[in-house]
Symmetry: C2
Subunit: 190 residues, 2 copies
């Protein structure tokens, strides 16, 4: 197993612009590596959660309950961030995030990092792009979900996010596309 500190150093090493040693020391107390197993839940619907997670290894799904049934809203894989800005603003999450595989994550305690952003331009400049990326990712999600027919959503996601079909069960994908399992099965049969 790779040492936690090496994973964190790697992560900072790939940040642009580079953070000074002093700033990483400020951030360190609010960062930790976790290795949750498959099926573990890292964010719960209707609960506030102060963490954002960067996926070093693994896969996750987001879903919420609608009349008692789970509706999948997105899947995330390596080098993506999961978390909700609602949490960052002290609002409860709309979604539950569950891991689909044994994973390695970096957990950022945003409650601890938020005051550092206001105090240090460098931290602010580090977190901003993450929020920007998150918004871009939401725009992507919106684009996909706004496609009319199940067939359109199926082919678009199939062509633009093929990794989803490689790593996620069809049951989860059906719920995500917004069709019944049976309909997805029939779309695939075409």
């Amino acid at each position: 197993m790779v040492d936690d500190q090496i994973l964190i150093d790697n992560f900072f090493g790939r940040c642009e612009p580079k953070l000074t040693e002093q700033i990483t020391q400020h951030l360190m107390p609010h960062i930790k590596v976790i290795r949750p197993a498959k099926k573990q839940i890292i964010i719960r619907e209707n609960q506030t959660n102060s963490f954002a997670y960067f996926i070093i290894q693994g896969a996750a799904r987001s879903y919420y309950l609608q009349n008692g049934v789970e509706v999948n809203t997105w899947f995330a894989f390596e080098n993506e961030v999961v978390g909700s800005l609602r949490n960052y603003n002290d609002l409860p999450s709309r979604e539950t995030v569950e891991l689909l595989e044994d994973s390695v994550l970096i957990a950022f305690n945003m409650v601890g990092i938020k005051p550092l952003m206001l105090a240090h331009l460098e931290v602010s400049s580090f977190v901003n792009p993450v929020i920007g990326d998150y918004a871009a990712y939401l725009e992507d999600r919106l684009y996909y979900t706004h496609l009319r027919s199940a067939h359109d959503r199926f082919t678009t996601i199939m062509s633009q996010r093929p990794e989803i079909f490689n790593r996620v069960s069809l049951t989860h994908i059906a719920s995500f596309i917004g069709v019944s399992r049976e309909t997805l099965s029939r779309l695939r049969a075409r």
Copy 2:
């Protein structure tokens, strides 16, 4: 007609935390008040646009073309910001934004403001919440669009965004909810 400078002063006056005089002087060259008429387009699909707009007075719709037909994606009113983070990242907009009423807007030239963010913590702290709000707004949009039946989307939007039904034509609303005008008419008749 209210003087431009008074509108801008008002806007800054309501910002939290307050900006220093020095910083507002830095921002001023990148801000202007515009008064576009109904039907005017302020952001075009597939074009990069360096501006974000704050609506002082008026209403706007976002839409994109899908097989030649306009699909409405959102409506915005007073005290809301329209713009795309894709523009901010030099990517072309996915949507066209058209005004539904004669409007008064503050236009922020984000290309000019971006370097100020990196140089001044105060500017960074001023723009960050806007990006956060934008992400929260995207999360809202996602929540609505992910509802399964047209009837669910109709009643949810009806109860949570009633102002849309007061100010936007049913034709636009139908396209937004993702149903034909005829179906929306029948949903309303219930």
